[in-house]
């Protein structure tokens, strides 16, 4: 009796599905045909694939991790936080799905970084502050000259 589809009451029930309406969970056992009619199969397949995907990725030593900051995919799933810029390329396949879910988009639109020169100077200034902190005055002097040169050229 338990194995009869609860929708058509004819075929064998092969799929267990959980329906949640207004927070109330009901479980139904249905046959392949009824499930397909109700659009359950595709959903279920997709979920199964995604779950399998996550399981293989997070499985033991083969787990995907970011070479930049050593963040593992399972830790990212747990905290929701990425560890560095490189994580975006390391996990890009999974992120594409996640971003589509959040933003309904997976590509940036609009303004980017300022002009190339601005970015270069910013990077040099940052390196300069690092050199000063490490008391590497030789590098600091060189960096300062470079910054001056670029700023003079762009003016």
């Amino acid at each position: 009796m338990n194995n009869i589809c609860q929708l058509c009451k004819k075929n064998n029930a092969e799929i267990k599905c959980v329906i949640v309406v207004d927070g109330v969970r009901t479980e139904k056992r249905v046959c392949q045909e009824c499930a397909r009619k109700a659009g359950i199969v595709e959903q279920n397949k997709m979920n199964r694939k995604r779950t399998r995907d996550i399981i293989t990725r997070t499985d033991s030593e083969n787990e995907l991790f970011c070479p930049g900051c050593k963040l593992t995919y399972s830790l990212f799933l747990k905290t929701g936080l990425l560890g560095c810029s490189q994580c975006y390329s390391t996990f890009s396949a999974a992120l594409t799905d996640i971003l589509k879910g959040i933003h309904s988009a997976s590509y940036h639109k609009g303004r980017g970084l300022g002009e190339e020169n601005t970015f270069d100077v910013a990077q040099l200034k940052w390196k300069l502050s690092e050199a000063v902190r490490q008391e590497d005055f030789e590098s600091a002097a060189r960096l300062r000259d470079e910054i001056k040169l670029i700023e003079k050229e762009s003016n």
Binding site: G68, C69, K70, L71, T79, G80, L81, L82, G83, C84, S85, Y88, S89, S92, L95, I98, L99, I102, H103, S104, A105, S106, Y107, H108, K109, G110, R111, G112, L113, G114, T118, F119, V121, A122, Q123, K125, W126, S129, E130, R133
Partner: protein, 349 residues
């Protein structure tokens, strides 16, 4: 240590008032940025965060002369809570302040937070509905920083952030709104659904653990990827003006259909405020809700002005109450709250 002060010293976005202040208390623009070629702060240990803070502080100190710098990990917990209650310190800096920092303006209309889960989060806030000004000011800040700090960016994902929910433009527009009309006329879930559809989120302004019948909410744009900045501004602007109209209509409707019930709620509130000797936090919020509606619409006795009624939401919070009237146990806090609220009323109890 924050000095005890009475009358309380409040941030400019609450005490200045602005366009549509009856409904929209403030508008903010928030940017999230990270530095290129180095891990985000959430993967750094304490020492590494301190080093990166020192470097950023050196550079930002020159760019931001009007801001004072606070080493958040050296502040007392009470002071951090005090600033967080008034939105002048991101909540993320409350539990884990090691190696973090905050640049804050004197009138607290802008801050730049260092080493939250991202290297830089910065915001600008104005009273009322003023999307243009907050965006322009926050953008100015961003441009200034971009001259000296190399931001992490990719063509595909835009500005890179530790949370995938914030990458892309890294720009969010937020509002604090007071919507008793919409709540009383049972249109709240309709509003929440339409905000969600338009890509905005809504959460209670009061501590979510306090389930008071709140009428004060945070609304924030949730999509940072796939929309450019102009589109984000437009969506937020359209939504907020629609919401203001919806709230005014709802207030008119309840005033014509249920004037006595509303007046009853407000006058009972005033009765409690003038005579109660103890007011708990949750009750304080409910009273502030009723009084602010009264002040905005001039319904009853003109017992309080709109700005003072808005301040009630803030001064009743624990860290503020402590800063204004001093420390105490639960009992003393409730007594202090009642006394402080009574002082705000223009009528004698």
């Amino acid at each position: 240590m924050i000095e005890k002060s009475y009358p309380p010293n409040l941030p400019s976005w609450i005490s200045d008032g602005g366009e549509n202040f009856e409904v929209v208390i403030s508008t903010e623009a928030l940017y999230v940025r990270n530095l290129a070629d180095r891990p985000f702060p959430n993967t750094l240990d304490r020492e590494e965060r301190e080093i990166s803070r020192r470097q950023m502080t050196e550079i930002l100190g020159r760019i931001l002369p009007d801001y004072r710098f606070l080493e958040t990990d050296r502040m007392e917990e009470q002071d951090r809570k005090y600033l967080a209650e008034r939105g002048s310190l991101p909540e993320e800096l409350l539990p884990r302040p090691q190696g973090t920092g905050l640049f804050l303006t004197e009138i607290e209309n802008s801050w730049v937070a260092l080493n939250t889960s991202d290297h830089l989060r910065f915001r600008f806030v104005m009273p009322g509905t003023d999307v243009e000004t907050v965006y322009r000011k926050a953008r100015d800040l961003e441009e200034k920083m971009e001259q000296s700090l190399p931001f992490a960016y990719s063509e595909r994902f835009g500005f890179l952030t530790s949370r995938p929910t914030e990458c892309g433009t890294g720009l969010m527009i937020g509002f604090i709104v007071h919507i008793p009309g919409i709540v009383y006329s049972n249109n709240f879930s309709k509003l929440r659904d339409s905000l969600l559809k338009a890509g905005l989120t809504l959460k209670p302004f009061a501590d979510p653990s306090i389930s008071s019948e709140g009428h004060l909410f945070w609304i924030r744009s949730a999509h940072t990827l796939g929309l450019d900045e102009e589109e984000i501004l437009e969506t937020s602007r359209d939504m907020i003006y629609e919401l203001v109209e919806m709230e005014f209509k709802a207030r008119d409707a309840i005033m014509s259909k249920a004037r006595y019930q509303v007046e009853d709620k407000i006058l009972r509130g005033i009765g409690i405020l003038t005579h109660a000797r103890m007011i708990a936090r949750q009750e304080g919020y409910a009273l502030a809700n009723a009084l602010r509606l009264d002040a905005a619409e001039g319904i009853t006795l003109d017992a309080i002005d709109l700005i003072s009624a808005t301040e009630l939401f803030l001064v009743g919070k624990p860290a503020h109450l402590t800063a204004i009237v001093g420390e105490g146990n639960q009992l003393q806090m409730d007594t202090n709250r009642a006394e402080l609220f009574r002082d705000y009323l223009k009528i004698e109890g």
